[in-house]
């Protein structure tokens, strides 16, 4: 299994990445890390620069060619590969073919645990009152909603409380967060208010980009809220 750490994951969430590694090795999976990897090209693609995104997509294909599974701690980046690479390589039959093979093998981390390994209960224990942020690309484009919840529901002493509006975007949206900072912040505020209303002290997510955004806003507002990647909760919960 090859880990796709993603650029934000590499830079800002190395612990979440290591949590993924430890959990998978704990489950007996052999983890490799293709060193040449960089970024999936999503920032370019979403900002309207398909050629630039294509350059990164080509690089991605070269780096991950031959991997039996590709697992990423970011639902959004996994969805980029699966959902948009076919469009990027629409007129490039050879790469389109390789994309098709790869997109059948790329998984978001919790999806991989639940759908491929069939693991829903890691025997973890993590005392907290937590709520889960459902990220948009992961649910709507990748179609992964249940796996992280199932894993979290099986964590002992973790009280999982639902949000009133789980489906609302946190407001990150890549370059949207700097092109429309006021609206982006207003969206984060609505999400954080929703979280605060549940009385949760821990916010869990499966996408570094959303977490970075929400953590940044929560810190500016001095909210006493802990924000963690789902892999971190699980790894700490099993004592890894």
């Amino acid at each position: 299994m090859a880990l796709f750490i993603t650029c934000l994951g590499d830079l800002f969430f190395p612990r979440a990445g290591m949590a993924v590694v430890k959990l998978l090795e704990h489950l007996g999976v052999e983890v490799t890390f293709p060193e040449g990897q960089t970024c999936c090209g999503q920032p370019q693609w979403n900002s309207g620069y398909p050629e630039a995104a294509a350059a990164l997509a080509r690089h991605f294909l070269d780096v991950f060619d031959g991997a039996d599974y590709i697992v990423s701690p970011s639902g959004s980046c996994a969805s980029m590969v699966q959902h948009y690479y076919p469009e990027i390589f629409r007129d490039d039959p050879a790469r389109l073919d390789r994309t098709r093979q790869i997109s059948g093998r790329i998984y978001e981390f919790t999806q991989f645990l639940v759908e491929v390994l069939g693991v829903e209960d890691l025997g973890a224990r993590y005392p907290a009152r937590a709520t889960y942020h459902q990220s948009c690309h992961m649910t709507r484009l990748l179609g992964v909603e249940e796996p992280p919840l199932r894993l979290l529901r099986n964590v002992r002493d973790l009280e999982l409380v639902p949000l009133e509006h789980p489906e609302l975007c946190c407001g990150f949206g890549g370059t949207f967060s700097v092109k429309s900072p006021e609206v982006s912040v207003a969206m984060a505020d609505e999400k954080l208010d929703d979280v605060t209303r549940t009385g949760a002290d821990l916010l869990v997510g499966a996408d570094p980009s959303c977490l970075l955004h929400l953590a940044g806003r929560a810190h500016r507002r001095r909210l006493p809220l802990k924000i963690m990647h789902v892999a971190e909760v699980l790894a700490e919960g099993v004592g890894l």
Binding site: I5, C7, G9, D10, L11, F12, F13, P14, R15, M18, F33, E35, G36, Q37, T38, C39, P43, Q44, W45, N46, S47, G48, Y49, A52, A53, A55, L56, H59, C136, H137, R140, E167, L168, C169, G171, F172, G173, G174, T175, F176, S177, V178, K179, S180, P181, E182, V183, S184, V185, A186, M187, A188, E190, L212, H213, A215, G216, R217, H219, R220
Partner: protein, 487 residues
């Protein structure tokens, strides 16, 4: 073109807590009503009492729309013939100017001095009221929401609920001005006033103007869906009825119409079907008690045929249900006026730059969307609005209109990041820079409260955590060493 940019208008809306509360409450109501309606539809489908659940219905609706648009000439001709055979008059208008001319000509011939209107986005789009008022014709909006914003001198802020941004207090003030006394803010009083004022207009009006939600090509039937009785009065009380309809509103047969009616209200307000669904086929026939003497249907192009056959064609599937607005997190924060155009929300973000001058509206796709795709999920005809917004962004970049300052860095970054060494180098430099800017220490982590360059906008409202001591790559290298020792 609207004044200013989306960002500026949005900022203004964000500073208006009353507006934001009003929009949010209505959106919440629409969202939960839709959710319930969809669950019920799924149940009906399981019992064999509906054509299918939402997903199945939306596939059918999409297929019908695609077929109709692929053969639009044929269905337009068919509809024109059918309407003519039943005694109606058909006109084709290339744009706003033609619509104005056609309606004014009819009004002049019939000596119309007062026209009543029922809610219609197409007439908003071509600013028909202005054209008629220029001829000294009084035009009165009779949909309650439209009437409110007409009094306020505003444009609709939502496709389905044009006045959702208004509070009761504001409405009481507006109505109070009309009747010259102070009004209480309860619903019966307010609707009572509107009814009393509008009834008199219905009686006197020489012309009724409406849109149409659908036109059935086979029979020439106009289908108008409303929740108020005003639509029925507008289309039947005055001696002349003029319907202004976008050419994309055609559906081939009555059976097709059934599919859309099952989706429209459910997606929009969560109702099974709207309170009134009028089917109008031709003017009053001899011996009939009511209906207009004269019926005109104006098919409006106004940029629509230019969209046919392009990568944007699917936006013409839109049945104006408003579900994409209701589910859009950006709309939810700003309301419709931030979009500066007749159509707001995700569909407006796609449609407005296509119907108008692209360069004037490029900030909508650039700034009014976080690409969360909630609109696509809610859309009853499955328009991939988020992908069409991406296509707009591509066009903006292609034509050199991207003024965000991000194009250069993004392209440069992509070129560099196809080389692992350059990626590693830039990440290292980025780490150092960010750690240097992140000087505020708290909770064991350092935060940047003011970042330079393109990240400045980020730190206007958010802090940026300093990257941790070690990157993943470094941790991984350590891990490999440990693993080697263990083995």
């Amino acid at each position: 073109m609207a004044g200013g940019t989306f960002r500026a208008r949005a900022r203004k809306a964000l500073e208006n807590p009353r507006l934001r509360r009003a929009v949010r409450v209505t959106m919440n109501n629409f969202m939960s009503a839709r959710r319930a309606a969809m669950a019920e539809l799924a149940q009906l489908a399981r019992e064999g009492l509906a054509l299918g659940d939402f997903a199945a219905m939306r596939e059918r609706a999409r297929a019908i729309k695609q077929h109709t648009l692929d053969h639009l000439d044929h269905y337009l001709a068919r509809a024109a013939t059918a309407i003519g055979e039943r005694g109606g008059h058909v006109h084709f208008a290339a744009g706003a100017h033609e619509v104005g001319e056609i309606v004014r000509e009819i009004a002049r011939r019939r000596g119309v001095t007062l026209a009543v209107k029922s809610k219609s986005m197409a007439t908003e789009e071509v600013h028909l009221n202005r054209a008629l008022q220029a001829d000294g014709i009084e035009v009165v909006e009779t949909d309650l929401g439209e009437y409110i914003i007409q009094l306020a001198g505003e444009t609709p802020s939502h496709i389905v609920g044009p006045a959702i941004h208004k509070t009761r207090e504001e409405i009481a003030q507006l109505f109070g001005r009309v009747v010259g006394r102070e009004l209480s803010t309860d619903t019966p009083t307010l609707t009572g006033v509107a009814r009393q004022v509008l009834r008199e207009k219905f009686v006197r009006a020489g012309m009724g103007i409406s849109g149409a939600n659908f036109v059935v090509a086979e029979t020439g039937t106009l289908c108008i869906v409303t929740n108020e009785g005003n639509g029925r009065l507008v289309t039947s009380a005055p001696p002349v009825h003029v319907a202004v309809v976008g050419i994309e509103k055609l559906v081939p047969t009555l059976a097709d119409l059934y599919v859309f009616l099952g989706l429209l209200a459910r997606s929009s307000t969560g109702q099974k079907i709207s309170v009134y669904t009028h089917m109008i086929t031709g003017p009053r026939r001899p011996g009939e008690a009511d209906g207009p003497e004269e019926l005109h249907v104006i098919f409006l192009d106004a940029g629509r045929s230019d969209i046919l056959g392009t990568e944007y064609q699917e936006v013409l599937h839109c049945i104006r249900c408003g579900a994409c607005l209701n589910h859009c997190p950006v709309y939810r924060q700003t309301g419709g006026h931030a979009y500066g155009a007749v159509y707001s929300g995700p569909v407006g973000t796609v449609l407005t730059p296509l119907l108008g001058e692209f360069r004037d509206w490029k900030d909508l796709p650039a700034e009014a969307c976080s690409l969360c795709a909630a609109c696509w999920e809610a859309c009853p005809v499955g328009i991939p609005l988020h992908d069409l917004i991406l296509k707009h962004r591509q066009k903006t970049a292609r034509e050199g209109l991207d003024q965000s300052g991000l194009g250069g860095p993004l392209r440069l970054g992509a070129a560099a990041w196809t080389k692992p060494w350059a990626y590693r180098l830039s990440v290292r430099v980025g780490r150092l820079a960010l750690r240097w800017f992140a000087r505020e220490e708290e909770g064991g982590r350092r935060w940047a409260v003011k970042a330079p360059g393109p990240l400045r906008a980020w730190t206007e409202g958010r802090d940026l955590p300093a990257p941790p001591e070690k990157s993943f790559r470094e941790l991984w290298a350590e891990h490999l060493r440990e693993r080697g020792q263990r083995a």
